[in-house]
Symmetry: C2
DNA sequence: CTGGATCCCTCACGATACTG
DNA sequence: CAGTATCGTGAGGGATCCAG
């Protein structure tokens, strides 16, 4: 146990002791969007060994970051949900995600995209001021992950699944990153075929204004 | 190498791949305050094995977070300094530090306090609005770590070492945490002797208003 | 003296299998 | 569905050594 301590009386070191281990913050990331079952967490973190997930959940519970809740009937089972203390990590997770997105090159062969990470990414990249008075409903299909976003005068609501009556449906792939970072313009993206639209094409321009990843710091090796 | 990947095409997972390993963010923390030599970093992280420090520095350099710079004469040697990209972690580090400070109980037997972590802690806990129109110079002695802070109408400047002509010198120990979190009032702290003052005692009240740790979320086990 | 590299040992992590 | 049990491996820990 003592091996995990950094030996410093320091809030930051303490934070790393609580949530700094491998996988831990990814569990928090997925719980930011609401309570989840063990199996749902596994689905969002396909590479995590179940014993590690068990261990992380216990550690986070001990740390006061999440709460294990036994559901009453009829939905019997167990869910894990962030405590108030855990929820305060949301802003940090979003910021760190935005920071990391700038180093995100192209996906490696086995990289996956999860619904939760995409929803978080949209929330992290959203710029209310840049959205201006935009008022539109988008559906975003990234591979087989489908999410939707409703923008209404600087407010954003993102959710899982399709959006009936979306003003624009965007079908794309990993190119989404280059699009949001400005490396590829909306026009180019459509022309090269890495983005397909159904609906008003002008709304794509508004989309990339509203959701933005700052330019990559440098060209990075794989 | 592949073992370090989380297998997700996600900015947040990418961030954890870059700076999520053990010790990594503590290195960043110490570099936030300026370029440092290998040996200075060791001093701030007494428990880090030198091979791990070497490895982390290389990884951070590859990640574009820091730069290795060979100093010209007369101060020959090598310093490590954050790149612009690395500097953008400062705000995240401060926030995470403040979050973790709320779970900081009493120091464990071998816990140390470093100058850098104390300076960062003051910057993280500073509330410009709460400082109001305060204008004062403080010297804070925590054990044998000595730092000083100058507050001037919402602006803060913190540095290492004593402050000649300080309006108040605060000598204390781990009790500083309970003081900043409001668990102990300034009056109690002075009366119980866990804080000793030299200068205007009323300035201690202004101090704990200006630097504040939100209350602990729950009582936590050691 | 700074700035590491090298060695070995250990334990946490990770993969797989299995259970209430 | 929600985990526990088992076990191998590799990253971390700690001491030591070396080059400029």
């Amino acid at each position: 146990m003592t091996s995990r301590s950094y030996g410093q009386f320091c809030g930051f070191a303490r934070a790393l002791e609580l949530v700094g281990e491998r996988w831990t913050l990814l569990v928090v990331r997925d719980l930011v969007l609401g309570p989840k079952r063990f199996t749902e967490l596994r689905r969002g973190l396909p590479r995590i060994p179940t014993n590690i997930l068990s261990a992380r959940l216990k550690e986070l519970e001990d740390a006061g970051v999440l709460r294990r809740r036994v559901l009453p009937r009829p939905a019997a089972g167990v869910v894990y949900e962030l405590t108030g203390y855990g929820q305060e990590l949301e802003d940090i997770v979003l910021r760190l995600g935005l920071w990391g997105a700038r180093s995100l090159g192209d996906p490696r062969p086995d990289d996956i995209v999860t619904t939760d990470s995409l929803i978080l990414a949209l929330r992290a990249t959203f710029l209310p001021e840049a959205a201006g008075d935009l008022r539109a409903g988008y559906q975003l299909n990234l591979g087989d992950v489908v999410v939707h976003a409703r923008i209404d005068q600087g407010s954003l609501e993102v959710g899982e699944g399709p959006l009936a009556g979306a003003d624009l449906v965007i079908e794309t792939g990993p190119a989404i990153r280059a699009l949001l970072s400005g490396e590829v313009s909306p026009g180019e993206a459509v022309q090269t075929g890495c983005v397909r639209l159904t609906g008003d094409p002008d709304l794509l321009t508004r989309f990339v204004e509203a959701f933005h990843i700052p330019p990559a710091p440098v060209a990075l090796p794989v």
